[in-house]
């Protein structure tokens, strides 16, 4: 007994040394990535943010957040992001509910439909929407042929076109977290309510919806934040008429070569993005503890 514990005592420093060696080796494995991220990610992003403070003043931020023209861009961006989030939720929730409650065959097929767009180039999808929504596009032609409208509807090169294109791109990001929340839901809760005579609408509103709110929340945050930084869809489907923040930043760099202002706009976009993620994570903590 004594001998073995003495042996164990002499072994302890050895084990500690081995552990320390293992940790050093594991840390070293992260070094190439750390180097890459520091040089090609952190440094250029911080450098860009630094440019916005050129001259040691906050003048560029004053321009970004003070002038009506640019405030309008922020307002449009937030409005579109909010609308896209709402629509993605209204379409995404029923879809997730269907996928979570149907037979395995339909779930698999449905997921292919949800995931396939994710794998397809965003340019292909945006181009397809231009084909569908244009003045002579498929949708207008059908509406005209059916006699539902007399003139082609303006579906493209405006906010409506941008919103349609963005909702299409972002729905999968809403469906996936809601689907997993629905799958975590204990079906016996709904059965118990049903057994006690609650109507389906009440079961949904009082049990299913409240218990899947964390999935709704996660999806909404993701869609909203991704919307804020969207570039390709507004640039193409907006036809130069819908200026969102990302489009404005690109213009500042490519056309006016105004790096400091682009830096300030980037900083605002970045801070908004990180702040929303951060708040969301903090807000979700208490709920997470309650979850089974």
């Amino acid at each position: 007994m004594r001998a073995s514990s003495a042996a164990a005592l002499t072994l302890l420093p050895k084990i500690a040394a081995l552990r320390a060696r293992r940790e050093r080796a594991l840390a070293a494995l992260g070094l190439p990535a750390l180097l890459l991220l520091a040089l090609l990610f952190a440094f250029p992003v911080l450098r860009l943010l630094g440019l916005s403070l050129e001259g040691g003043s906050l003048g560029w931020y004053g321009k970004a957040l003070g002038e009506g023209l640019y405030l309008e861009v922020f307002w449009i961006t937030f409005r579109i992001a909010a609308l896209v989030t709402l629509l993605a939720l209204l379409l995404g929730y029923p879809l997730a509910y269907f996928l979570a409650t149907t037979t395995r065959f339909w779930t698999t097929l449905g997921f292919i439909f949800v995931i396939l767009p994710l794998w397809t180039s965003i340019l292909v999808r945006t181009y397809a929407w231009m084909v569908l929504l244009g003045r002579n596009g498929v949708v207008n032609r059908i509406l005209l042929d059916l006699g539902l409208v007399r003139e082609p509807l303006p579906l493209l090169y405006n906010e409506l076109g941008v919103v349609i294109g963005m909702v299409h791109v972002l729905i999968p990001y809403m469906v996936l977290p809601i689907y997993s929340a629905l799958k975590r839901l204990d079906p016996s809760l709904a059965q118990a309510a049903e057994g006690l005579g609650a109507p389906a609408s009440r079961i949904f509103l009082r049990i299913v919806l409240p218990l899947t709110l964390d999935g709704v929340f996660a999806g909404a945050i993701l869609v909203f934040v991704l919307s804020l930084g969207f570039f390709i869809t507004p640039a193409l489907l907006g036809g130069g008429r819908v200026i969102m923040i990302a489009v404005l930043i690109e213009q500042q760099v490519r056309e006016t070569l105004d790096w400091s202002f682009a830096g300030a706009l980037s900083a605002v976009l970045l801070v908004a993005t990180v702040a929303i993620y951060g708040l969301a994570q903090r807000a979700r903590r208490p709920g997470a503890e309650l979850a089974p």
Partner: protein, 265 residues
């Protein structure tokens, strides 16, 4: 849910879902008939069949050069992100050293920072370094964008891997490197394959970074973007069909290799 009677609510849900599925899939379907249309402008339904838009694509050296450049960049970004990301995944999954959580967050950051901010930032740096127009400059930037996916996917594979197997190999006299190469990596091969595929597609489809860094050296998405903006003709539909076909093929191949790995003993 054990009991399922067809209720009116259920039927409405099915119908609504069908409409939403149509909304999701419609844009992918519409490019197919368009790409074989004989009409010189967008017309739907197409008046006749023709391969001219595919001939346009294959006959135009600019399209082909852009495609080859994108394939080269995506391959390089895929290899580099695996080379750097796989050790990083080992490091953040198994390590307990101080700073590990921070490194984990840093690796996820390129996914959170908006693409436009990263693109403009790298453009500023690369303009100083005279790297605009260099294919490897784009490949390096794409590596950064692909890295979070590689770390997440391989990290998940590693968490599901029983480290005792590696310890057994070590106990039987294998070196650490042999144990990882002969035991661990084959076991997580499905994760490696999907990580590679994700990294490849991330780069191959990427437009915003390439738009800034490519200069006059077009990548495929940049060429598509310019074409859509300038002159819409159905060549772009033919390119879209080819791209969808390529992705489907890549996913099928990945699934085959990914699954095969699990069946090897």
């Amino acid at each position: 849910m054990p009991r399922r009677r067809p209720r009116p609510g259920r039927i409405v849900l099915g119908a609504v879902s069908a409409l939403i599925f149509a909304f999701l899939i419609l844009p992918l379907v519409v490019v197919f008939p368009l790409s074989v249309s004989s009409a010189p402008y967008l017309q739907f339904p197409p008046p006749g069949l023709s391969w001219r838009w595919y001939e346009n694509y294959f006959g135009d050296p600019v399209w082909i050069a852009a495609t080859l450049r994108s394939l080269k960049i995506a391959t390089a970004a895929m290899l580099l992100s695996l080379l750097v990301g796989t050790p990083l995944a080992f490091s953040v999954v198994r390590g307990r050293y101080p700073g590990r959580a921070l490194l984990d967050r840093l690796a996820a950051a390129p996914m959170i920072v908006p693409a436009i901010v990263f693109s403009v930032a790298v453009y500023g740096l690369f303009a100083k370094l005279k790297l605009i127009g260099a294919w490897y400059g784009i490949a390096l930037a794409h590596t950064v964008l692909a890295l979070p996916f590689v770390v997440i996917v391989i990290g998940a594979g590693l968490r599901g891997f029983d480290e005792a197997l590696e310890a057994a190999a070590l106990g039987l006299g294998a070196s650490r490197w042999q144990a990882v190469r002969r035991v661990t990596l084959p076991q997580i091969r499905p994760s490696l394959v999907s990580a590679a595929l994700l990294a490849f597609v991330t780069s191959f489809d990427e437009l915003v970074v390439a738009m800034f860094l490519a200069g006059s050296e077009m990548t495929l998405p940049k060429k598509m973007f310019d074409n859509i903006r300038m002159e819409i003709d159905p060549t772009i539909a033919a390119v879209s069909v080819l791209q969808i076909a390529l992705i489907v093929l890549a996913v099928l191949v990945a699934q085959r290799f990914g699954r095969g790995a699990l069946e090897v003993k």
